[in-house]
Symmetry: C2
Subunit: 275 residues, 2 copies
Amino acid sequence: MSAADRPLLSNPRSERVKQVAALGRRAARERSGTFLVEGPQAVRELLGYAASAARALYLTATAEERHAEIADVALAAGVPIWTCTEEVLAAMADTGAPQGMVAVADRVDAPLPDVLDAIGDGDTVVVLTHVRDPGNAGTVLRGASAFGAAAVLVSDASVDVYNPKVVRSTVGALFHLPVSIGIPVAELLEACRERGIRLLAADGSGSTPLPDADLSGTHAWVMGNEAWGLAPEVLDGCDQVVSIPIARAESLNLAMAATVCLHASAATRASRARR
Amino acid sequence: MSAADRPLLSNPRSERVKQVAALGRRAARERSGTFLVEGPQAVRELLGYAASAARALYLTATAEERHAEIADVALAAGVPIWTCTEEVLAAMADTGAPQGMVAVADRVDAPLPDVLDAIGDGDTVVVLTHVRDPGNAGTVLRGASAFGAAAVLVSDASVDVYNPKVVRSTVGALFHLPVSIGIPVAELLEACRERGIRLLAADGSGSTPLPDADLSGTHAWVMGNEAWGLAPEVLDGCDQVVSIPIARAESLNLAMAATVCLHASAATRASRARR
């Protein structure tokens, strides 16, 4: 159905618009099992890597003109498309500027055993515990994807990865990465140990400087909250506590620390592959 | 003068409040040569590392109780302190949550020749060109400080480093680092070359992967805009174009790329120091 034949959503107070807008709230996301994907870049990644999760695409006529290829991919994948007025789009979106396009998608996380099964020998995993800041959490997911991590495991006491701010910060990484969420920290650590995954706590208090950390085998980076600190029981449960040598205390945020650790793991894997 | 003896600023529409609030705008900052420092952490760094630049401290009674040591340091440094109502503080601040405290400070950048004079043998420098996103720019400054860079040089076509969003993202790094701003890119590159500083462009298109880059001598990381790209004339002016090996194209933002590059430089300096 071409854009001209589609009905136009023009009432920002309609039930459908309210249901989409409600996905800005965690309760509505959990009830429906769906979440908001905002902006052309994230929608493109959704359709490219997890098209079967896409439930609906909402876009303005202007956005469709500018990103015709996105509507084409959605059509080919059988995703229902709705043309919206600017006002309707703004009412649906969580962010001020979704560039005329939002999608609704089914959750893309997987059960912990499935995600663990996908982890291969020598792989890098990320474990997020008590991470509360959406931007930091999203950037860690983005870094995990950029540096080829095999999976991200998110503890139950962390920010919802389907929070629109997290989704925005991942810039599509959520659709590339095996992700498992909502597991108690102790259970996550135990599951990793059982699979022979070495647990490396990333923490400013660590006694092992990053250059001395052993990144050669299958390992998980265990990351804590924004102050870049981990709870004592989490630190105790890890095999090594690793710190990044810095010029001033507390001068890295979680996203920066994670970026450095994940890059180090990727560099180690790459140098091993060359040997 | 103790808090009880100080006059209370209670009129959010007063001339003084308007003048402080105006510092959210570039024109007012340039006219006055001052900028806003928001929140206890940033104010603490201002008073600890650049107290002579502090012009005034505004705080609520609650914030003064919670951070008595900050008011003490300001008093000792002769910085005028004003107690404000919550309403006045909110009217002054650019951010929604400055935790009851803002300061006004004189610009802390220095002339380019002075900053260049402070660069020692083997040091790392950051050159920012056409960086527009305040959060990215601030995080790069934060990373430069964390990883012991000797200076940051900001081109004229970049975001204002005194933009409150940049200042917030630096988390005080602005007060630790020699910074020079507003210089045309070509002039910045030429000045570095004259001093024998090798110019390393950080760019996704680079033919030298980071592990192969020579970080041993005095060098500058030349960083471009948010899409992590540099203008052709900037690339041409650099000695080497370095890329970070990643699993997917365009999966790092500027702040992440800068963090990785600056960490690599710091690690190289550290390993040289150990030899």
